[in-house]
Amino acid sequence: MLTETLPVANAPDALPATRPIELTINGKKRQFRLAPWTTLLDALREYANLTGTKKGCDHGQCGACTVLIDGKRVNACLTLAVMHEDHTITTIEGLADSATGQFHPLQQAFIDHDAFQCGYCTPGQICSAVGMLNEGKVENKADQIRELMSGNLCRCGAYPHIVDAIQEVMNKDR
């Protein structure tokens, strides 16, 4: 006989209550009622209906959920929504120019270079690339870009075109 041991020792009889929180997402303040252990990723996808941010592993191993928090790239699955009431969150839905609808240069470059196939890792790749450029550590060298973009898996294998797209945007910025 083999008995499954409970992963959560001393499980509570009742769960902590949901609570109201306010998040600033893509320039808009939005109110939610969330369980305190709701990840930012699930808050975006299931409560804010912003499904552009993808769940690829829920463990911080694939980068599909990369969003920008105050301009820095963060895996939204590894952080809780309640921790970000004072921050500015930008998702793939917020990258294009909100007034004109003009794509972010990286979005256009990804299309032009065919830097994706199934498209599932793409929002994370683009947000990660925006974050990488914000970090300002990368010169326009392919090997550096490859290294600094290695937190975002692409199972379709679009990597060479992702690097081309980022390099083109960096060249234009000069």
């Binding site: 006989m1 769960l15 252990w37 191993q61």
Partner: protein
């Protein structure tokens, strides 16, 4: 339009996050299901206590084998378009555990957070039995597989010919080796998920991750005894498939079961760990013996493969036949056997069997070429097959593999290679150059499509096929635009909906040929219909013209001899009372034409590796794939598919493997940190050449699919490059540092 490198028409949706995948249809009043997986591999569930989970606020139900609703009785009802012979797995069927990670309960709650937590509170007792999962321990028990419909496209080996044993014994040059690769899991970036929208009168709208909406619909209607009009499956975007979506996976069954029982909409998403709880590329052991005459021509070929399957289905793949297609040797013995183990049935994974068998034979050919003192490329020219003995000596419908060899070698710089192993260095690192051949089927199957000239004079074409990242949306738009002479922006192609005309599962690299042909015949039929209407218009300038006298361009039907004489398509709609004009069509493969030919796409891969012997690390610094795949519909998306295949080749050769602890039958690396696939830094300079190839036999478009052929040659080319760099023949994959040091 056909043949132009246009950007993906679905690009804007994908770069803005608007493309919706199965778990992203946030229908009203949605509930969430979380799957509890078995922690033993084989045995009996003796107790399931769901009381703690059910006591939580927000938990609606916990489904187990004890309380599940009744579903269909016969095995037949659980078969799908890609079922191997056997008895398909049924989720929550009874108290028996057949494999590790088997779904044994589904917890449904009002929120995902509560469902996930509640799933941890389900208590389970098992009575475990010993399990057998290690293929290497059971090779002597391998047997012939049961054959079935699946073998239509995945043929089993032909009978031996000649006397390979005698020829091997008498030949002056020979080699023999055993090749092993472990299990691999598809791991598309999107986890499997199904959102079931429970509608009026129990109608189900199902958003499913699948490579065939019609396959999911068929499965649901049969398993739950529903009619087709009660079940609509929608799948506009698929976050990668690679074969994993060729069969309906268990989250579909569980989500439908729960939605019907609760009369609520339900979403079930698997976790990344649970992506190891259904099909995989089976571990396979191959033995090869080759012999050559003094002039370097092949004298004997023996290629044997033994692969694992489950206890309930005989999954097979074509592993050894490729050897016969590539090398027309008079003394050849090819064999393929399987062994049932306590695991889930394997499942087609990108170039199933091809990447396995071609790795082994192309490494073996390299070794034999070295033993004969002949350049590996020259050896392949010398032993180039002009017919396919595995298919009764049929000629190839087209085979521009020579051009792949020549152009690939030229681009790569193969002539600068020094043949001796360990003869090329870059500072401290050893450099190796290797090459190999690739081959994949060029099949076509029946499909249907609909084409509509809308009231706005736009063209809307649809077929219930899929686009798993392959570019289906884009190439079908191109074909339709070309045939009706319309600008791309006025053509929309839709797919992934069972309300659309029937299309098969997207697999086997056949979609471009299959759905492309359906779009072609349908658009041609619509063109004829439009022409007839145009001719009948009052005062029509085309009144006396025949169909052969006109062509379609710039949204007009124009007279060939004077293109200024034209009827705008919009005018035809107006004349039709402002009503849309539609046509549906079916394309069937022309068996009469195809049956006398062996039909394949070919490729040659040339690879450079850098090996650091101190660390046992291998880096593919550059690679060239030259591909002969008939007409290339879109060089931009086709190039991406080949590059993707090459990345898979790097992964297969150097990185990925699902490692099992056979004492427990449990995977040890079921997550993306420990199951290694290439990251951006692992992929350097990859180049693709499409060689000119004309084929008017394969299908009306002359196209061969490119989703798989780019992968097939790569693992052997890399292993051969590693030999050239180090002098070590590493026969087993992946070539990780422990195998190289």
């Amino acid at each position: 339009m056909i043949g132009k490198p246009i950007s993906r028409v679905d690009g804007p949706e994908k770069v803005t996050g608007q493309a919706k995948y199965a778990a992203e249809f946030n229908v009203p009043d949605l509930t969430y299901g979380v799957v509890v997986s078995s922690t033993i591999t084989k045995g009996t569930i003796t107790r399931i206590d769901t009381s703690k989970a059910l006591a939580l606020d927000g938990v609606l139900e916990v489904f187990t084998h004890k309380n599940r609703p009744k579903t269909a009785w016969f095995d037949m009802s659980y078969k799908d378009q890609d079922s191997p012979p056997g008895s398909p797995f049924r989720p929550l069927h009874n108290d028996q555990v057949k494999y590790n990670g088997q779904p044994i309960a589904l917890v449904v709650a009002e929120t995902f957070e509560v469902a996930r937590y509640a799933a941890t509170l389900v208590e389970i007792d098992y009575d475990p039995e010993p399990c057998e999962t290690d293929l290497l321990k059971h090779l002597h028990e391998a047997r012939d597989p049961k054959s079935g419909v699946a073998n239509l496209f995945k043929p089993l080996p032909p009978k031996p010919r000649g006397d390979s044993a005698a020829a091997y014994a008498n030949a002056p040059v020979s080699m023999s080796a055993r090749y092993i690769h472990g299990m691999q899991h598809h791991n598309p970036m999107e986890m499997f998920a199904t959102t079931v929208e429970y509608g009026r009168n129990g109608h189900l709208t199902i958003y499913d991750k699948t490579q065939g909406a019609t396959n999911s619909q068929l499965y649901v209607t049969q398993a739950f005894n529903l009619s087709f009009d009660q079940v609509r499956v929608i799948s506009p975007y698929v976050g990668g498939g690679f074969g994993s979506g060729l069969r309906p996976q268990y989250q579909l069954f569980l989500a439908v079961m729960a939605a019907r029982a609760l009369e609520r909409s339900v979403r079930v998403s698997l976790t990344r760990q649970q992506m190891w709880s259904f099909g995989h590329r089976p571990a396979t052991v191959q033995n090869i013996r080759l012999a050559a005459n003094a002039d370097g021509t092949l004298a004997a070929v023996e290629h044997e493969a033994i692969a694992e399957t489950s206890q309930f289905e005989d999954y097979t793949e074509t592993v050894v036949n490729w050897t016969g297609k590539l090398y027309d040797c008079a003394n050849s013995t090819l064999s393929y056997k399987v062994k049932s183990l306590d695991m889930y049935s394997p499942l087609d994974m990108r170039a199933p069997g091809g990447v396995t068998g071609v790795h082994a034979i192309e490494c073996a050919i390299d070794e034999l070429a070295y033993n004969a003192g002949i350049d590996p490329l020259d050896f392949r020219f010398k032993n180039y097959s002009e017919k396919d003995w595995t298919e009764k000596d049929k000629p190839f419908s087209s085979k521009e593999l020579r051009a792949c060899f020549t152009q690939g070698a030229e681009r790569f710089g193969w002539s600068n290679r020094t043949p001796e192993p360990r003869s090329m260095r870059r500072g401290h690192t050893l450099i190796g150059w290797g090459m190999a051949t690739g081959i994949w089927d060029a099949n076509q199957v029946p499909a249907r499509a609909e084409a509509v000239l809308t009231v706005n004079g736009k063209l809307r074409v649809s077929s219930a096929t899929a686009d798993i990242g392959t570019g289906t949306y884009t190439i079908m738009t191109q074909i339709a635009a070309e045939l009706l002479g319309m600008p791309l922006e006025n053509v929309i192609f839709r797919l992934g909906d069972t309300d659309m005309p029937l299309a098969p599962i997207q697999g086997g690299s056949w979609t471009a040929a299959t759905v492309g042909s359906a779009v072609k015949v349908t658009c041609e039929a619509l063109a004829k219909k439009l022409f007839k209407l145009a001719r009948k218009m009052p005062g029509s300038p085309l009144a006396s013209a025949d169909f052969t006298d006109v062509f379609f361009a710039n949204s007009h039907i124009r007279l060939r001899r004077d293109p200024s004489v034209a009827v705008p398509l919009q005018a035809i709609v107006d004349q039709n009372g402002g009503r849309a004009i539609s046509e549906t069509g079916t394309s069937l493969p022309n068996m009469l034409k195809q049956k006398d030919y062996s039909r394949s796409a070919h490729a040659a891969a040339f690879v450079e590796v850098e090996v650091d012997e101190d660390f046992g690390t291998v880096v593919v610094t550059r690679a060239v794939s030259a591909v002969a795949a008939g007409r290339i519909l879109n060089p931009k998306t086709a190039r991406s598919q080949i590059i993707g295949g090459m990345v898979w080749g790097i992964s297969s050769a150097l990185q990925e493997e699902s490692v099992m602890d056979h004492r427990y039958g449990r995977y040890m690396n079921q997550n993306l940190a420990e199951y290694h696939i290439p990251v951006c830094a692992d992929v350097r300079d990859l180049d693709v050449i499409f060689v000119e190839e004309v084929d008017d036999i394969v299908n009306p478009l002359g196209v061969k699919g490119v989703g798989e052929v780019g992968l097939v040659a790569m693992p052997a080319a890399i292993a051969n490059a590693v030999f050239h760099a180090t002098g070590k023949r590493i026969h087993d994959l992946p070539i990780q540092l422990d195998r190289l040091l």
